[in-house]
Symmetry: C2
Subunit: 400 residues, 2 copies
Amino acid sequence: MVIINGGVTAPKGFTAAGTACGIKKDGKKDLAIVCSEHTATAAGVFTTNVVKGHSLQLTLEHIKDHCAKAVVVNSGNANACIGEQGLKDAKEITALTADILQCKPENILFNSTGVIGQALDMDALRLGIPKAASSLSENGSCDAAQAILTTDLITKEIAVELAINGEKVRIGGMAKGSGMIHPNMATMIGIVTTDANLPPLLLEKALKAAVKTSFNRVSVDGDTSVCDMVVMLANGAVAHTPIQSEEAAFKAFTEALSYVCLSLSKMIAQDGEGATKLIEICAQGAASEEDAYKIVCAVAKSPLVKTAIFGEDANWGRIITAVGYSGAGFDPNAVDISIGGLTVCKNGTALPFDENKAKAILEQKEVSILIQLNEGCFSDRMFTCDFSYDYVKINGSYRS
Amino acid sequence: MVIINGGVTAPKGFTAAGTACGIKKDGKKDLAIVCSEHTATAAGVFTTNVVKGHSLQLTLEHIKDHCAKAVVVNSGNANACIGEQGLKDAKEITALTADILQCKPENILFNSTGVIGQALDMDALRLGIPKAASSLSENGSCDAAQAILTTDLITKEIAVELAINGEKVRIGGMAKGSGMIHPNMATMIGIVTTDANLPPLLLEKALKAAVKTSFNRVSVDGDTSVCDMVVMLANGAVAHTPIQSEEAAFKAFTEALSYVCLSLSKMIAQDGEGATKLIEICAQGAASEEDAYKIVCAVAKSPLVKTAIFGEDANWGRIITAVGYSGAGFDPNAVDISIGGLTVCKNGTALPFDENKAKAILEQKEVSILIQLNEGCFSDRMFTCDFSYDYVKINGSYRS
């Protein structure tokens, strides 16, 4: 597998576009379309929030047949909690897009991200959809990646190439997400494309496996949105022998897909609202898979840990405290903690350490925290970011 | 029941003291003793964190006989995660205090609050304990309330008087807690005294009931400390007919105690690190007690809700989002949300509201959020505070 330039249009047979239709008041791009030349096999992972955006609800219906031709996403408005109008508007958008792209409305997947509780600006979208559709191109992935952003500062794109049954196939992806990021679901909007050929059930299996260790292992603020989804289109544009079972080719494909998803996830954590540092939290030696997950989750969510890392303060007491209330079972007298390779706690007890060395580690842009439980053989890993003044600033005035 | 002046020394037969022994580098008070003239009945509620401070571990042993004469608390150092030395030091403190107060070491309850992972400054404490003990007085409650503070800005004290079986009895309390505050336990240090006469099991029952709706319903940052406890001493100094069963007198006593605990809890939320507002979150009409709790808990912990309130932004989308991922079961199309009495969401749908009115409500120092599920008859309530720049500032450099 090699990393190549580009994003969702790197695989054959995909085009994309991103335009400004007027939903965002500042004139920034707010409408993206990713389109496959031929109808593709589709799979998705969606928010587990009981409250779901209207656009997302429609997409949950449309993906049931495992087929899609295009994904439409608007930013600036979540189309959530506005009653019957929300579903009606979502249906109109998919019908309009299907009409232009000459497919069934059911083959359009639609999602919206932004403020909750305001009706979509349908006049803007009615003009925007044809405009975006007419500018679909193989060079449009960067525009599309820009158009799905909300409070994100950077676009998030990646593409890889690998050999499947002797032929080169590609996987490309883009994502948005900066706040309201926590697992239990897809935790953001991600769109992944591939020109590989594999049946719906294997595509779904590969996507779920990849999401589990990537998008579902990112936390910015512990809040999980009502519009989160990761969808994937596989159009089989490369004429390789199809992946038919969980053979070596499936394994290679899943690994490459996991790499794509993990790369996008780390970009999300790194670009977390107000973030100055990417934090990787690993739990090792846990008694069960569930315990390992609970521990990385509790540490990644702790505002006290996140503010300490922002302040470049090796306050590991807050880490062991979060481990302690995580709900995981463990012996507090057997826990070791290290920060960037520097052991600060051994057998649950403070270890004298060089504060200057700790400071040098914490001044880096990427900080890793390792919690060794010495209980069993299970491990987990989660990515998060630090908590800064800017997180408060960004979120104190989001609607206005 | 009437509110009276004073704190833990308002009930008969209690003295208190607070001194600066040198644990805190800035010369502020850091050692408190609350003492009963005669050995009192004792009850306590303690942290559920798997990791427990060494002082707290010893107190868990000492309270097993339901008797105590005094409570000793040092601030500035949590005496946690420092290995065998921690328990040894805690034992020396209780032995030293018992020697001076002429009781068994088991009758001394000891706790420590502050930084984790540093050994207690025993030289300071060996000089401090006799000094504090010698200044025990009926006027010492305010000094004691100061000496238990860490990042708190204000002391937290209250006292009430009520009639039990024809005699006037009093309940007094003090508390500390500003960060690392979240339920699942006592969530801070609280010391409550009374001159009422009741047996250990009833005292424990009353305290648990009071803590459930007060100290266990406060969240500042979702982090739960390793040193949290609420302990209560009842010395029976007022010669009333003892409370012997769950009769009317017990009910009146529990109600007054709940008032004391709730008042202290609200002071803690109001004084949360960096807090500018006290937020009361109510869930009503939930399908079960557990669902109601999950909902108030999720909303109280959400950094996005807390930053929105700091920014005086009526962003109720974040409230319904937190309700949605709380884990509670409910119909998203039946939820009503109001902020300070202003309904902003009805049947899960945005309601047009006057932004100026919302702004006026959010400019107040106390903001209430009501979530009506329209599912059943269970309700719950939690207090929290907003999330400000100062929370980040305070916690980015706590150790230094």
